[in-house]
């Protein structure tokens, strides 16, 4: 049921896009006002959130260590999973961000015959990795619409992405992968009882927006064929701040545009901000050099303590009886007075 409202939201957005195509004002709204405002929301929101995290202090150095520390010279440290230097932490973060190393560890705990059995579970890692990498490729391929002449790396990626030369127009590997991965992630949210239980409507909303954008994009390419050259004209116009309402604004393109725009505008308000947050996570991006280099807490609030002098005053008699040395010579007497 938690998926119903997000589904209706995405359908309503689709309907809105189709409706907008029927009037000139609607076209201006979806094709001109929306792209700019969505982009502004995305950029300002993203920066605001990331900067707010960055400006929030890290009072303590709390890396989660996942391997042997660097201690004695003859014990081999796990320089990646328990980095002792900034460079090590950088490498740890690189693997985390590019390969989802922590998620790769995932396993499943199941009770089997009154025993706990821990088995491998690599599907989530695979699905997540497939989705994120294909999304990156898709986004990079889209650059050819906004830049003229098309940069070499963008053409190269497109060429590589279509290396199998299947279908007319050529079917990109990333298109297939992103669709498959998204469907897996949606199915997992529905089918895995634990994940279904913890999911919020916003989790479905993000997935449905992504899925809607991907499907409408594929439909543009293979079913309701659009004029790519005209769309590029339109996109370039947007890029140089000369937007124009042109004939390329077919219903399916408007749907694609509105879904993508909504996703971008919604991004900074959502958990999708993990994109920026993962870089700033203090359990991952700090070196475990706690005892060799002092970490400074910028606020380090003063506290009240029970000092040795107070302690000695309170227990002076007992210290004397036990013949333990006292700091204050007459501590015992003053206490008794």
């Amino acid at each position: 049921m938690k998926a119903l409202s997000p589904l209706l939201t995405v359908l309503a957005i689709t309907g809105l896009a189709l409706l907008a195509g029927r009037s000139h004002d609607g076209l201006v709204l979806v094709a001109v006002i929306l792209p700019y405002s969505a982009f502004a929301f995305f950029l300002v929101g993203l920066c605001f959130r990331v900067l707010r995290w960055a400006w929030t202090p890290v009072p303590f150095r709390i890396p989660t260590t996942c391997g042997q520390q660097k201690s004695l010279p003859w014990i081999k440290p796990a320089s990646l999973d328990n980095p002792s230097t900034g460079w090590g932490a950088f490498r740890r973060m690189t693997l985390e961000i590019l390969l989802f190393r922590s998620l790769f560890r995932n396993n499943r705990a199941r009770l089997h015959d009154r025993r706990l059995v821990l088995g491998d579970d690599g599907f989530l890692w695979l699905g997540a990795l497939a989705f994120h990498w294909s999304l990156l490729v898709v986004l990079l391929r889209h650059l050819r619409l906004f830049i003229q002449p098309v940069p070499v790396f963008v053409s190269a990626i497109s060429k590589l992405d279509g290396v199998f030369q299947v279908g007319i127009p050529i079917l990109y590997i990333s298109d297939v992968v992103i669709l498959g991965a998204l469907l897996y992630l949606v199915a997992r949210r529905f089918r895995n009882p634990i994940v279904r239980y913890v999911s919020l409507p916003t989790d479905y909303l993000a997935l449905f927006l992504l899925l809607g954008t991907a499907i409408s994009g594929l439909l543009m390419r293979f079913v309701f064929r659009v004029d790519v050259a005209a769309i590029k004209q339109f996109a370039l116009g947007l890029a140089v701040f000369h937007p124009a309402v042109t004939s390329c604004l077919t219903p399916i393109f408007l749907v694609h545009l509105l879904l993508a725009g909504t996703l971008a505008a919604y991004f900074p308000f959502s958990q999708l901000m993990h994109l920026g947050g993962v870089f700033l996570s203090p359990t991952r991006n700090l070196a475990n050099d706690n005892r060799s280099a002092r970490h400074i807490n910028p606020w380090n609030d003063p506290v009240t303590t029970h000092s040795y002098a107070e302690w000695e005053r309170e227990f002076a008699d007992k210290l004397k009886a036990a013949k333990l040395p006292l700091e204050a010579e007459n501590a015992g007497q003053t206490n008794r007075d």
Binding site: P59, T64, V198, H274, V278, H306
Partner: protein, 532 residues
Amino acid sequence: MPDKLIAIEQKRPEGDWRDAKVEFRKGTICYSAAPKNIAYLGLPNPREWQPFDVDWKLPPNWKEIVLDGMKERLRKYRSFRLFMEICVRCGACADKCHFYVGSGDSKNMPVLRAELMRSVYRHYFTLTGRLFGSLVGARELTEDVIKEWFYYFYQCTECRRCSVFCPYGIDTAEITMMARELLDLIGCNINWVMEPAANCYRTGNHLGIQPHAFQDSIQFAADEAAEITGLPIEVPINRKGAEVLFVMPSADYFGTPHYYTLLGYLMLFNEIGLDYTVSAFASEGGNFGLFSSHELMKRLNSKIYEEAKRLRVKWILGGECGHMWRVFHQYMDTMNGPADFLEPPVSPITGTHFENARSTRAVHICEFTADLIHHGKLQLDPSRNNRWNVTYHDSCNPARAMGLLEEPRYILKSVCRNFHEMPENTIREQTFCCGSGAGLGTDENLEMRLRGGFPRANAVKYVQEKHGVNLLACICAIDKATLPTLMEYWVPGVEVAGVHELLGNALVMTGEKERTTDLRGEPFAKEVAAHE
């Protein structure tokens, strides 16, 4: 294996987790902190109450206090703000929590434990939460939510296992620490944390042992070590000008089997002629402030450096204790440093510079001993541990907040002949908690402790059946206090010991009398313990 608790309900979770009603049942909760302890520490709202009560006697403006507290912490801790905002509920952490595995209670999944607080965060601190409420997972803060927080944030041992698996490194321990701080602000805390903390603040140690009794206990152990070895063993207390201040958890001189570990330390120090002192003021390495608030942690920890400075020692050596070492490693220098009155630690026996401790100037006893063994400074007879077939339990904090993994293993493999590891995803950084850490190791909480300890016990059972393991070695005082009960329940026949107890058994001391019994007074076994 006991039937009652293994009947864990693995049914599909139903209903909506945002329903905050919690049933408080004996055996699964810790009792409230006694007002005298709260008052002694000068913390808010000391009063008589119990979690079973309908009325928790919260201050009239409790809601404002909690929300203001949240606001303050969101500003002070990036970890808190970040972990409130970036979770995508992928579920990778769900079955990594020993309490979830052992209880089947879905709110023990780390993701939901955090959502209990995130939902409130969204309602009061985010635009979408204010506008869309429950559609974006926001929830109002009510008294029921406070009770739910109390139940579940005192059902987390801050072991950080989930944070190993989280793709963003979200650490439930951080969230639990924040929740407990917020609960502290309105006086909802547990006695098993607050009494040791109050004792520690007053007397210097959790057990409230005063200096003369401290001296008696230490003297008793020294005498016993002398009797076992036939050597004069003395332990200096509060001695100025010693090279090393040795700090241990108070359980070492008051609990069993911790006590045998203490004997091991004393024999070791005597054998190598270490110039050291213990302190009746800094008579506790453990720090139950860690389980309450950063502020209290700092207040209790301050005595370590203060005493090291007063006694004019050169550096600090720390005994076997898990959470003490999280504090020593990740907090002490930042909170109460710089330790510029100490010197970077150098082993007086081997000359090794402990480079990794050059700022904090505190060395773990396992690092110190491993270095001694590596340099051939100790004569060891592993056959004296023949009756044991050993496995090693990585304590959560040394494993996941330090990475102290190989040092204790190196010692164990040098002092006993039979050593077998538990399965790899239950040890090292993936080690399972004893289920009683973070102040939950009290008897009124026994059922939940046994449930939480089930995954650990299950792995011990595996090596017991496969290799005949009969001893679980560890380097944590809470482990030593609570694992024996856990073993008795799930894996009868397995005992618990500190690493330095086994070292003490194997240590051949210069001029010692002929030894026939181990530190527990049991005769040395001639035959090697049965193993595969």
